[in-house]
Symmetry: C2
Subunit: 176 residues, 2 copies
């Protein structure tokens, strides 16, 4: 039997109070579906003595990109993060993986449209058929739960929870 | 003389009240530096009769990725967007370009550290040496103005304005 396909678990879960507990839960769900979950903190980097913070940050970034390069796909948590949008670091990793040809499967704790969710969080103003914020910036409205760049039609919709994204990823990666 | 290197102008500027005016200003600054600015709306897509919004969104996404593929570099606006973080669609495009090997140059209207800016916008709580939000989620602190994934040491710091990013991009792309 060949090794389980490795999937990188992108998302703001690394910022949780107990990220390793979250990682173990996600890894178990992946394993049950025949996948090997790879968590961003798996590189287990430690700041070196007197290493400048920006140098440490650069090492973490390089390690995460290397972890992605070693995976067959990505499962990304695009839940709203400190505002209506997805975590920007997660989005960066999704774009990186996509350009490498890796399928990216997404899930969100809130699959309402971006407009509906933004309207809940921020004062919006109607402008013809558009909705704009106090700075006059348009709110995208394509009925999608995230910015349109984050939705790859080739890998399906934004799933309503992690397990659903795992199931779709397994169906794809175990038959490729 | 060879053609000016094309640079993709990633950012939430597409949501401005008059995005084409912003595009022209940015394009002029690029031209003055010997670069050709490529704006996401350059694909000039129009929704087809009765085309589902999600299908239109997918066409826009594909067109933007194609524009990036045709460029020699990216200049990205990572200014805070509806919260402390950068626009997630912009971050996605940056990651995509990076994996293609394109240099990505960044600028922001606010180059304070992510922690300093987040503290201004959201109630944070000290937790040992860390700062956490009301959900207990850690705020990254590496002294960087954005999530660490968005800072590529190979292309310099986050510049304080667009023109500075253009100058760095030109210095790099016109000598490569």
């Amino acid at each position: 039997m060949s090794a389980a396909p490795r999937v990188y678990l992108a998302g703001p879960d690394v910022f949780l109070p107990d990220p390793m507990a979250a990682a173990e839960t996600m890894r178990a769900a992946c394993a049950a579906a025949g996948l090997e979950g790879v968590f961003p903190l798996d590189a287990a980097l430690v700041r070196m003595h007197e290493e400048p913070l920006t140098a440490f940050a650069a090492r973490i970034r390089a390690a995460n990109l290397d972890l992605i390069r070693g995976c067959a796909g990505v499962i990304a948590n695009v839940s709203p993060f400190r505002g209506p949008s997805a975590d920007d670091g997660t989005a960066y990793e999704m774009g990186f993986a996509t350009a490498l040809g890796l399928p990216v499967f997404t899930w969100s704790s809130d699959t309402r449209s971006l407009l509906a969710r933004t309207r809940d969080l921020i004062d919006l103003f109607a402008h013809g058929a558009d909705w704009r914020d106090a700075e006059g910036m348009l709110v995208e409205e394509f009925g999608l739960p995230v910015n349109l760049m984050l939705v790859d039609p080739a890998t399906g919709p934004v799933h309503p929870h992690f397990e659903a994204a795992v199931a779709t990823a397994a169906a794809r990666l175990l038959t490729d």
